[in-house]
Symmetry: C2
Subunit: 565 residues, 2 copies
């Protein structure tokens, strides 16, 4: 089966004027602020104009524990949104904005794929409307004001060794991970060790994603904790008088970006927080708008259901107050085969040839992961739908094996061919989703705000990850005590662990049991509104490979981009 490249499909799409795309959701042209011809921001006045109560069924797309190659969650999200329109539903899709660093690093673009893409893919993958850059600018202005505060006498008594605020850039640059700043002479600042993270890892990005309005964002930015005084008191952006200027820098970024799929379905692209040290979900503001003008709102949560979906439920929905009606679990033949433990899948390399042979037994041998992730959805009172994202190398017997596993768990299941066939290929999936979403939602948070931080961590670890318990390094325990004392104990937790296993050990496939979650350290995103325990090495600044994608990207003699995939 030969289908054109994503870039070629994107270019050959007949784009509708965005006014027409918005009109599908009864969003009038007066609420659109065009950015170039094919992207528009939606004015926050939409929140005042639209009905106060949600009209949409709210569907989150998650996955089983993925291989390092990913299992096509974005393309399934897009395909489902397209298919719902084939069923006569007014559908809207909400996804994260991709980071530019990886676009020029290893993976090329991140706009879905095949005939279920967000278009134009160049706009999505490059700058979009500048929201990422605004996050970078706001984040680094706070860093400059913080170091300037030290330089100008440190009236707040900030302990230079307890500064937690680093700087950010949207680039894959390993050399910026660990740096010493403030060298030179007396007028050049205060020497200290620090570093850069990629912009997606910025707390400002998480703030953007979790804010419910411009005013709420202003308050959250002010609450950001940048470090601690010598007495251990937290120091905030507000104390540095930076919160207002940061909000001003972010005042356009808070407006969601409207684009369309290859079938002209409306897509809101907004915010792109990391999926490990942050919650990995697109914005609350986009969902607040789309949920009030669509019949169905389909959104994607990062990584597997233990990661993105758990945070979707317990962080994002806790903040927004929106109640999900169904959850899609993307499963692939290759991922289930990988969970059998019989193969080794490596990022950036082709699959082992043996994995491509017809072998439903391999699929069945990986069933435990799918079962556990179905449970993880049910834990939150939401109906799961298993979406088998079909690949040309799959066999019918292998799809059937997945179907049997899902049905044995009582979950709805459908094969989806959206990559090759667009929305038409996902109609069976859309029907299953509609059936699931029309059941009354029993959505419930996994833990109340009032539980202490250790119980929150332990609840997620034992109920979602399947751990026997949690262990804390002394520094982690001290941080938890300090955060409770600082009044942050009411925040939800965002556990930073590998996405390649239900456990904290990326080599443990399937549904590992008999293990303990080791919490190495704990940090706080007080502005965004969560505490994040760290279990394992979390890389917050990627590096480039020997041959970065950037080397192959160029413009041709007509000014067209080449090499973006």
């Amino acid at each position: 089966m030969n289908i054109p490249s994503d870039l070629d499909i994107s270019r050959s799409t007949a784009l509708e004027p965005l006014e027409d795309v918005a009109a599908q959701l009864s969003i009038g042209p007066h609420l659109l602020e065009p950015y170039g011809r094919n992207v528009a921001k939606i004015s926050l006045e939409a929140l005042d104009e639209l009905p106060a109560e949600p009209t949409a069924r709210y569907v989150v797309v998650s996955a089983i524990t993925p291989t390092p190659l990913g299992e096509g969650k974005t393309t399934t999200t897009v395909g489902l949104g397209q298919a719902l329109r084939h069923l006569g539903k007014r559908s809207a899709i909400a996804i994260r904005q991709p980071s530019m660093g990886p676009t020029f690093g290893i993976k090329g673009g991140a706009a879905g794929g095949g005939y279920s893409q967000v278009v134009p893919m160049e706009a999505l993958n490059l700058h979009l409307t500048g929201d990422m850059h605004a996050v970078t600018a706001a984040h680094n202005m706070l860093a400059a004001m913080l170091d300037n505060h030290l330089h100008k006498g440190n009236a707040l008594g900030i302990d230079p060794h307890r500064i937690t605020w680093r700087r950010v850039l949207d680039v894959n640059d390993r050399d910026l991970r660990n740096i010493v700043t403030g060298l030179g002479g007396r007028v050049d600042g205060t020497p200290r060790q620090t570093g850069f993270d990629i912009t997606a890892a910025s707390e400002v990005m998480a703030v953007l994603a979790l804010s419910t309005s411009l005013q709420d964002m202003r308050q959250r930015l002010g609450r950001i904790v940048v470090g601690y005084t010598r007495d251990g008191e937290p120091v905030t952006a507000e104390q540095l008088r930076a919160g207002g200027a940061m909000a001003v820098i972010m005042r356009e970024a808070i407006k969601p970006n409207l684009m369309q799929t290859t079938e002209n379905t409306p897509v809101l692209v907004h915010a792109g927080p990391f999926g490990n040290i942050a919650h990995g979900n697109s914005s609350v503001v986009a969902d607040r708008i789309a949920s009030r003008c669509a019949d169905y709102l389909v959104t994607e949560a990062g990584f597997g259901a233990d990661m993105g979906a758990e945070r979707f439920f317990n962080i994002k929905c806790r903040t927004s107050g929106l109640r999900p009606d169904a959850a899609v679990l993307v499963a692939t033949v290759r991922a289930l085969k990988a969970h059998s433990g019989r193969y080794k899948v490596v990022a950036g390399k082709p699959l082992p040839a043996a994995m491509l042979a017809e072998n439903p037994d391999d699929v069945r041998a990986g069933a435990a992961n799918l079962r556990k992730q179905i449970d993880n959805i049910r834990l939150h009172g939401v109906s799961p739908v298993v979406a088998i994202n079909a690949f040309p190398t799959d066999y019918h017997s292998e799809h059937e094996a997945i179907r049997e596993i899902a049905e044995a768990e009582g979950a709805r299941v459908a094969v989806s061919n959206h990559y090759v066939d667009g929305g038409k290929g996902a109609v069976e999936l859309a029907e299953a989703v509609v059936a699931a979403a029309e059941e009354p939602s029993g959505f419930q948070l996994l833990y109340p705000d009032s539980a202490d931080l250790r119980s929150k961590i332990e609840t997620v670890a034992t109920k979602v990850y399947g751990a026997d318990g949690v262990s804390y390094l002394p520094a982690a325990a001290r941080s938890l005590d300090a955060y409770e004392a600082n009044g942050y104990g009411n925040l939800p937790v965002c556990i930073a662990k590998t996405h390649l296993s239900l456990s904290s050990d990326p080599t443990l496939l399937g549904a590992p049991t008999g293990w303990t979650l080791p919490v190495r350290e704990v940090r706080a995103s007080v502005g965004a509104g969560f505490i994040y325990p760290i279990c394992g090495e979390m890389r917050t600044m990627p590096g480039l490979g020997s041959h970065p994608a950037a080397e192959s990207i160029d413009i041709d003699e007509h000014g067209q981009i080449t090499g973006l995939s």
Copy 2:
């Protein structure tokens, strides 16, 4: 005289739809790409559609040597553009995009002022269409690819001690001036000393400003020299295979941004290179477009006529092939009084009270600077027009003193009240400019491409600055020899010296004589296309003051910005 704040004037302006603004220049709506409601990019297809030959008289606005407070060159540029329309001319204005760092640092916005502003000033001063951010992203991707090249084995044999490419951010952050990167472990890069400049100081910004087309920009980006091998050979962005991806990142940034003045005059805002280590002029592309659809194109060149105008003539016009018809020299009572040497003007502080008393003798005592800058315009065969930018604290006798000095030199002269009265206040100036521009232009470059680098430097130093000669530190002499050997001897020179004196010593006012220009070192912007000898300390990353402007900037309960000035 009480006039509202710049922000209030900007907000109270009746904005015209940009289609109507563009229509003044016969630029059709199909050539506009809207970015929000009040800014649009102009498609480069305009270059194909418009007449091949310039239709416009081309006017550059420069100044006498300014005080640290600046003498209102942008507001005069805007006022003149407005006034030309009062005379029935189709006028266009072209200016640089302000840098966000200083907006949140000391000076607030940079959009002109009073009733001669570019509006909306918030859009101009914050992000605009993201061109600055694109420069940051392209610049830093090259830096990451360079460090990654070292990390992955350094096949090109780059000498880590001879890397000249730093990183950039659009923020005032003194702590980033001198840093050590690549610390941490083996996978975290190669430890070395480097630093960040502000984005306006990036060579990528100078490339953006000097490129004549997208393809030309692509080639210039590839020619950027990032350092030298152990054998002393230059290493380019092309050799690192970064030029294509950089051009892709910059492919929207190359399109000029259309805005309007408080009187709806079209303004092209495009590129913002530094005025000392770079040429300090807005883009060639904007001028190529506007010169072919207006009767008058008014553009601003940074700092005094020895700096911005000299580079306008010898770098920008050399590149674009456009021929200027007149040059405006902005003069103020306060600047001429300062050149008397009788007062000390300090940035960020009020003028000495004694300077505000009526004193035409002080003005006459500062005449030498104005005379020399008039000469500097004439050196290039262009007609000078002295614009007396009126302040409410001026006296008629003081304006008359300036008029007498200018007329004694045979220059046209006019008092301009655009700040208070908008275009109406600059009609006398506009009439003088029209008279000057309608004379046949005798424009000539000061030196040919073929002159060697030392003669180019010496020509500018002796003819424009009034130096007796030039001295070179040994390192500077070695660099000049190396650049000639590398084949860069045909490039023009951009002499980086203080803008506060015609000389290289900022404390020497008036028109200093009997001094020698000391060239400390010489660097090359091979991609942008100039060699820059450095004479004195050039700060390429500003710091913040004790109370940065950011501390007072916020959003109010209606989401309106407050504190931006």
